[in-house]
């Protein structure tokens, strides 16, 4: 144990130097090295949101809504197809996770099954009927729907498991994209938006200490649709529960006194918001309004519709509420227009932002929020620094008092240990959290354990009458297995903490694990190197331990 080949000395020196190089930028002002290329060792430790301040949001995409919508679309298609084929049906609607209906005449049953098996939705890939799935490649082979007839003669059309899971994945991916676009529009710097699990999105917003506006923006699906208004049907009757088939009763958003509170619209979407290419807040007759522009297809659809329905009202729906129902004065052929309504300037800005960013395929729910203001973050860093300083000084004094010269060497190793931890955190770009600082301080206390074990062993060997060099040799040899045994168990605990912990706790596990590895290295290699060099140089007759 006392022979140190030159290459080993170089290796130990190299590792310590590397640690210094990586740790050094952290002594500079915050933000130093941010612009360095990634391979240059000039990065500072990245601080967790609890230290730099910021907001952590865990969102859930209500993917069930997407499935529900697809089934609704299938119901619409089924209605049309059955009418066209002249098949009488009963009780058509979405129930228990499937589109269901009964055939009036048992003789028609087989034909009905054939008809619904050939719906546009049933062909491979997604039909155009639902619109919001336009961007999804139809990757699955075979029909995405399964048609069954039960003993009671009820026909059910359900999505196959693969089609449903494809729809869920697509909805999640699309949601992430929309969330990213909306957050980018607000100008938050360096947001992290990650998929988590089957239906979740993790959003981290550094520097945001009041996420209310963002939560508000993310809380709306912002699904914009244009519908024909059925002026012939009676709103009173519809409110009483008699809505004509193919029509929908929808409320008006902030209706003023004496204004219409509900509208009856055609279920069929004339043009939908995913045809929008741009939207801006602007003014019309001194009122804040939202301008919009369709893409070519949308413009054509809208132009045709407005040409055919001059002097009739149409409804603009946002998330199921009528925000505006103007009467068409003349055909709108340019593919662009404005939405007027009872808007404030802020609302107009938000609405145009949401329309630009696109609609969410399903509503989002905030499952978890952790927001730390910049004041608390800075205080935590300060407190962490003081705790670390006090801890290190206390331990260092105690080591010198207990082991004299050897204690000094252990302290030197301890300093290298801290440098290596900070260097490793910077190099790995691991996130330092408040519990992470606790992990470092705790490691300082526990790191000297390896040296304590060795020094105690050396003392015992001396008591048994060994010479200094054989005592040191035996001390190291015998202590090493114990050191490895005891550190491995703590490493296990850290691993499980990392696997199951969340956020700040993960940070604790990381620093604890790094600290264990570096403290073993510094205790076994760095102190030993110092002890050996000292031994070679001074050749003591007795050890000052």
């Amino acid at each position: 144990m006392l022979t140190f080949q030159p290459w080993k000395i170089i290796l130990v020196g190299f590792v310590c130097l590397l640690g210094l190089v990586y740790a050094a930028p952290n002594a500079m002002d915050r933000g130093f090295g941010d612009d360095f290329p990634s391979w240059v060792p000039g990065k500072q430790v990245s601080l967790g949101l609890d230290l730099q301040g910021g907001s952590h949001l865990l969102l859930e995409v209500e993917v069930a809504v997407v499935i529900e919508e697809r089934l609704e679309a299938i119901v619409d298609e089924t209605r049309r197809a059955l009418r066209q084929a002249g098949i009488g049906y009963l009780r058509l609607g979405v129930r228990d996770g499937a589109a269901r209906f009964r055939v009036r005449e048992a003789a028609d049953r087989e034909r009905a099954v054939e008809v619904v098996s050939n719906l546009p939705s049933a062909s491979s890939g997604f039909g155009g009927a639902t619109g919001s799935f336009g961007g999804v490649p139809g990757g699955s082979f075979g029909s995405p729907t399964a048609v069954e007839v039960d003993d009671a003669g009820e026909v059910s059309i359900s999505l196959t498991e693969s089609a449903a899971s494809e729809a869920r994945t697509a909805a999640l991916q699309q949601s992430i994209e929309i969330v990213r676009r909306r957050i980018d529009e607000t100008g938050v710097r360096e947001p992290t938006i990650q998929r988590q699990g089957e239906d979740r999105i993790l959003v981290q917003l550094p520097g945001v200490d009041d996420p209310d506006r963002i939560k508000e923006l993310l809380g709306q699906t912002a699904k914009l649709t244009f519908h024909e208004v059925d002026t012939a049907a009676s709103v009173q009757q519809a409110l009483a529960g008699r809505v004509p088939p193919g029509r929908r009763l929808v409320p008006a958003a902030n209706a003023g006194a004496g204004e219409q509170t509900h509208y009856i619209i055609h279920r069929r979407v004339t043009v939908s918001g995913d045809r929008l290419v741009d939207s801006q807040p602007t003014f019309d007759q001194n009122r804040p309004v939202v301008s919009f522009r369709f893409d070519a297809t949308g413009g054509r659809l809208f132009g045709r519709f407005t040409s055919e329905h001059v002097n009739e009202p149409f409804a603009i729906l946002l998330d199921g509420e009528v925000i505006s129902a103007p009467v068409i004065q003349q055909p709108i052929l340019g593919g662009s227009g404005i939405i007027t309504g009872r808007f404030t300037v802020q609302e107009v800005q938000d609405l145009s932002l949401l329309l630009r960013a696109g609609a969410l395929p399903a509503p989002l729910v905030v499952l978890e929020e952790r927001t730390v203001g910049p004041g608390l973050g800075a205080d935590s860093i300060e407190a962490g620094k003081i705790a670390a300083l006090v801890g290190v000084i206390g331990v260092a004094i105690f080591m010198v008092v207990s082991y004299g010269l050897f204690g000094l060497m252990a302290n030197a190793a301890l300093m290298f240990n801290i440098v290596l931890i900070v260097g490793a955190l910077s190099a790995l770009q691991a996130t330092l959290t408040l519990p992470g600082i606790a992990g470092i301080v705790l490691t300082v206390g526990m790191a000297v354990d390896a040296n304590v074990l060795i020094f105690e062993r050396i003392r015992e060997e001396i008591l048994q009458g060994r010479t200094p060099s054989t005592a040191i040799d035996a001390g190291y040899k015998r202590a090493i297995t114990t050191i490895i045994d005891s550190n491995l168990t703590t490493l296990f605990a850290a691993t499980f903490l990392y696997s199951f912990g969340s956020g700040p706790i993960k940070g604790f596990a990381v620093t604890l694990a790094i600290g264990i590895v570096t403290s073993m290295f510094t205790a076994i290699m760095v102190t030993r190197l110092m002890v050996v060099l000292w031994l070679r140089r001074s050749r003591p007759a007795a050890l000052p331990i």
């Binding site: 865990l58 859930e60 200490d209 009041d210 209310d212 939560k215 905030v366 978890e368 929020e369 952790r370 927001t371 203001g373 004041g375 608390l376 205080d379 935590s380 407190a383 962490g384 705790a387 006090v390 206390g394 331990v395 008092v401 207990s402 050897f406 204690g407 408040l434 606790a438 301080v441 300082v444 206390g445 526990m446 000297v448 354990d449 304590v452 074990l453 105690e456 003392r459 008591l463 015998r478 297995t481 114990t482 045994d485 005891s486 491995l488 168990t489 703590t490 490493l491 296990f492 605990a493 499980f496 903490l497 199951f500 912990g501 969340s502 700040p504 706790i505 604790f508 596990a509 604890l512």
Partner: protein, 319 residues
Amino acid sequence: MFKPVRLVPPGTKVPFVANRKIAFVLSALLIIGSIGSFLTLGLNFGIDFRGGTLIEVRTPEPADIPAMRDQLSGLNLGEVAIQEFGGPTDVLIRIQRQEGAEREQMRAIDVVKETLGPQIDYRRVEFVGPTVGAELIQAGMLAVGLALLSILVYIWFRFEWQFGVGAIAALVHDIITTIGLFALIQHEFNLATVAAVLTIAGYSINDTVVVYDRVRESLRRYKTMPLPDVFNLAINETLSRTTMTSITTLLALFAIYFFGGEVLADFALAMIWGVIVGTYSSIFIAVPLLLFTDVRRGDDEDEERAVAVPEYERTEGGT
């Protein structure tokens, strides 16, 4: 250079094993007390596990907590706990989980912010929905369970099974009494406390392993010495190391407790208790328990020895 101070002078012989009955009675009382307070008082679960909202605010003037309590209790949000947090201007507000889904919870935050007004600095807002809370409980229990299991497997692999039993007994002792302490003082039991419990597990085992290593070594060296004497010798020989390491770790932990800020204080408190009780249990529980298992004294035909004993010890065995 000066002569180093030795906390435990060489040749110390404290009769730890002989007094094991006192320790067993004390530990039994501790465990009964812990389970008792756990069952009667229960743990004060934080929002991590129970779901709910936590808001830390700083007021411009020293906070008028009773007035705040009056303001917020009229909001129909259910149980609202308000306490000073570290200083007279810092206040921690805890709002119980609201009836209904996540959306209702978010509304509670808005209502509180509206009521308290804009002159207050919101230092921290944490909200955990019921779904995530349930998952965090599950993940926490799984983490503790798997950590214990892996430690057990490791000990069983490195030592004979008798040592594994003793180590796990000491470990469970430490964990139960830590949980008992939190039930007794009713400090918040949250994710950080689970992290502390896991770290205590690591520390406790670390400490036990060091003493066990020496027990195993002494068992081979002193083959004719009665078991209690071998055990006591091993404890005394490692006593210096045990106290040294406990003291340095405690030094670091006290630094966190007093200077690390309010958020870390409870974490440090759990760890301080864990280190003290972990050190105690390694000496008074883990080793004496070996007397009740049939420890082998390391015969040469022992197969496990080839794994357990490093080469140098076998060559030097006779000296």
